[in-house]
Symmetry: C2
Subunit: 394 residues, 2 copies
Amino acid sequence: MATTQTSFPVDQRHLKSFGPISTPDRLLLGPGPSNAHPSVLKALALSPIGHLDPFYVDLMAEVQELLRYAWQTDNRLTLPMSGTGSAAMEATLANTVEPGDTVLVAIKGYFGHRLADMAGRYQANVKTINKSWGEAFSIDELEEALSKYRPSILAMVHAETSTGVCQPMDGIGDLCHKYGCLLLLDTVTSLGGVPLFLDKWQVDLAYSCSQKGLSCPPGLGPFTMSSLAEKKLENRKNKVPNWYLDVSLLNKYWGSDRVYHHTAPVNMNFGMREALRLLAEEGLENSWNRHRKNAEKLWNGLERLGIELHVPVDLRLPTLTTVKIPEGLDGKGFTLHLLNNYGIEIGGGLGDLAGKVWRIGLMGYNSTPENVDKVLNLFESELPRFKQNFSVAA
Amino acid sequence: MATTQTSFPVDQRHLKSFGPISTPDRLLLGPGPSNAHPSVLKALALSPIGHLDPFYVDLMAEVQELLRYAWQTDNRLTLPMSGTGSAAMEATLANTVEPGDTVLVAIKGYFGHRLADMAGRYQANVKTINKSWGEAFSIDELEEALSKYRPSILAMVHAETSTGVCQPMDGIGDLCHKYGCLLLLDTVTSLGGVPLFLDKWQVDLAYSCSQKGLSCPPGLGPFTMSSLAEKKLENRKNKVPNWYLDVSLLNKYWGSDRVYHHTAPVNMNFGMREALRLLAEEGLENSWNRHRKNAEKLWNGLERLGIELHVPVDLRLPTLTTVKIPEGLDGKGFTLHLLNNYGIEIGGGLGDLAGKVWRIGLMGYNSTPENVDKVLNLFESELPRFKQNFSVAA
């Protein structure tokens, strides 16, 4: 063998000496991540076990079953992707889109644009319809577009994290199937916190994240696919053009064969199992009602303070509220003030709403009346003071 | 707005009542995951903070800098992908392969095949050269293939987790650049445990995982790219056909702009930062020497017991040892025996080596003389007993 191995002195230029990690205390009331439940964090810190260990295999089945409950679906292919919500988002398209397929994206915020970008990367013929950031689509608007474009997939966002709008779902699934089209739904900011009935709504593809309504840190992306969507995957002419997210391979690991695909993020799945267990223990209706009640307390309180909300009440998401930044106020300065002086994170606007709204999340573990009071008290005491300081400084 | 929202009763069929999570004690001496360092697990359980929090932004830079140290590279684009090692593997190809590019994969084990599969999904013209599972490539064999196929990328595995072979790297980088080709290297089972000099070796693309030499749970995939590889990315005609792993987008978040791409798996990155800090504290040479010393102790002990190793000593990986399963013995039965009765996980063979070898990992936190003694004692006491039981039962 003509192979040798020379050694070199180790280059120390990048050897920096950092102290042990110490994180600041934060109450995360932005668009996510939200604070994790303490018992989820405890589960996360358990010593890892093998991804083919019989114990882990049982845990996988438990996670799948509780995800079906949380989403209200019987879908066989229901599992957390080993990446964040965006990976699960991409998985819905990567597995089902074949080059030239028409994908219609109903865009009413930032994440609709992301769906369109992703679909294009899988060589879809992407068509879009658009609404202002703060509105939802009506059944008639969707039917008009379906009949015009005759897409293979209609992709839309249930809970738009960028606008705080909750898309009403009545009739959309029926409509899609009447037009021979799969329904793909983003439930990133709704899973666990807002009523979701995937099977009743006839949703074929959905995805979510771990760090919002589920009270788990970010890192996993729940994914689900109906038998109709499975059929589209099975009939593909070519391999899924994404190995990591290929459900036909993942199914061999998550299905009964348990064939190695990739080394699962076992600790994140410990956390996910605990998060879903807590949700099941509370019960879906109780969790949904809690989110609704605390959101209404926030909405009423803000309106009492004379602060306007961006979305009409019938379309408002209980998990995420968009608040109009009062005229003349430095919105970003105020959120930095809250972060640096009170350890409270509130989000700014994205895209069309950048600089126009704040985004206040009350999700999972963080949806409590105490947190609502904290926000309302700070808005009451700090906003006028800050406004004045800002005017003086400006 | 003609949109309404019907409510349904919650379907309780998937509502299962599981007790709080409780994991078995495992000493993970297989191909990975390996046990995580206790202080890494502690970091993992810290309360999450926002992915755009100034504190987190500092932490990202620390992770990047310590990864450069661990890999011995100055590459600007050095960051952990928000997925497991396989996602980082896919990222190396997804970002650089354009349809029709010739990618030469030097296959000497399971993960070489995976590289070829992935490259094909990105529409590469895939060429392969092959060696038996247990051998390495010589410079002459590589030159012959480079001159024959003139590829854009040569992809190969430094530390083959399926065979236990460490590929000697002398001269390969020079050769690739002489032929105008990028060098892509899998360092999944070498990072932290085996000498790695990416820049000295002129490696253009590399990836690794969190759960082996770094003593962190699985879930992140370190990724790095030279300026030469960056140029290939910049000159692409079309968008990277994978949104989640698109380095041109990720660079805006990990670079100085800090533009939101996806919600980072912040807790996994807390763990990664602590894992890299511990490696820096020990020092690379010390860690490499420790892995070498403990592996030699294992090799000598096994040979004293009359057990044969699969790989010749000059090509053996210190992090992962392939052990020939003695003739007539049920290899899988023995590993199950160790797992169920002693809580010790040892791996079986993959692909060509299925049923032929066991794989014993001594990686990161688990590379200790005490663990070597545990394995040797069990092999000495249990193997004969088990062999006999098996013979009687068979």
